[in-house]
């Protein structure tokens, strides 16, 4: 095979044997070279076989992928809220440990009749929280406050670092 035949056959491999996209000199060469004309025919046959070898469109798979994406998105949202939720819990926890719960005072300020049922329901919960607060208060009298705050900050920091590590892990998966 000479250099010109190779050049033309490279073009044929790229075009899938189609000659209408070839430059004029390549088309002229095809008219004069039996070997390249045969190669063009074989390339068309190969292109036809390869084209039908692609799997058909699969709508069920698209649906499956989008469901998985939806689940991943919901998980990501929760992950984003995690540090915020943890911070709120930590602050509440610290308040319970160091200062008791201002629950009854706040609830007493809410206008009466509409929330009477709600107050009844929350009464039991508050009683439970109070007993926890009493126990925690006992703990706080033994353990210095700064140790408790330090522990809380460490937990919060750990959550933030953990989240960053998760993001890095996701990026590395690319």
């Amino acid at each position: 095979m000479n250099v010109e035949c190779q050049r033309v056959q490279e073009l044929l491999a790229e075009s899938g044997g189609r000659t209408d996209t070839l430059p004029e000199d390549a088309v002229r060469h095809l008219g004069a070279c039996q070997e390249c004309a045969r190669a063009a025919e074989q390339e068309r046959e190969l292109a036809r076989l390869l084209a039908v070898a692609l799997p058909p469109e699969d709508a069920a798979l698209t649906e499956r992928i989008m469901e998985a994406v939806g689940r991943r998105r919901r998980a990501q949202r929760l992950l984003r809220l995690l540090p915020l939720a943890a911070s709120v819990l930590l602050v509440l926890g610290a308040a319970v440990l160091l200062g008791g719960v201002p629950g009854s005072g706040l609830l007493a300020a809410v206008p009466g009749t509409a929330v009477a049922g709600c107050l009844g329901l929350t009464g039991g919960a508050i009683a439970w929280v109070r007993s926890v607060a009493v126990a925690a208060g006992a703990l706080a009298s033994v353990v210095p406050g700064w140790v408790i705050w330090g522990a809380m900050l460490l937990v919060l920091g750990g959550l933030l670092v953990g989240r960053r590590l998760l993001r890095r892990l996701e990026a590395r998966q690319r």
Partner: protein
Amino acid sequence: MPEERSDEALLARAAEGDEVAFGVLVTRYQRRVVGFLVQMVGDVELARDLTQEVFLRVWGAAASFDDRYRFTTWLFRIAHNLAIDHLRKRKLPTTPLTVVSGEGDEQTMPIPAPDKDPMGHLENHELAGALRRAIEGLRDDYRELVLLRHFALLSYQEIAELKGMPLGTVKNKLFRAHSVLREELVGYRQGRIPG
């Protein structure tokens, strides 16, 4: 009405959480990714699972996509890396193309049922088998380029970018790979079973 936004524009929307835009990308490329992965791992169901994982990774990393590159080269790099990782982990068991009968004769393996055969929907299963074997028999570097070209449907330029090869090298390798495939198919038509 067909969606006309570019891949990169759709991905930018997806990075902001637009699942509809991402769905367009999935619809646009799912068939090509499955086709490519089927040829890489040799199993349709596994290829579907890996395709789902590819798109989940694309979704997860959409915000970090570098728009100096093409979406297609990025997508198929992810698919390729995932398939390679999977094959490494699994140490893919190979199936011989011939079996020895009770009388000691060597027989060609039957082509599997269409739903398990990567090319099973070809009308002519024997020709599909010949083509599959011809592709499997290619040198690794030729085979990879053939899969990227004919199953991922990437252009020569996209393949060159993805593989970090000069365009001329891609042209030359694909020309050589095609020559081998053409020869095998001509041989098959003349009654010689390739491989």
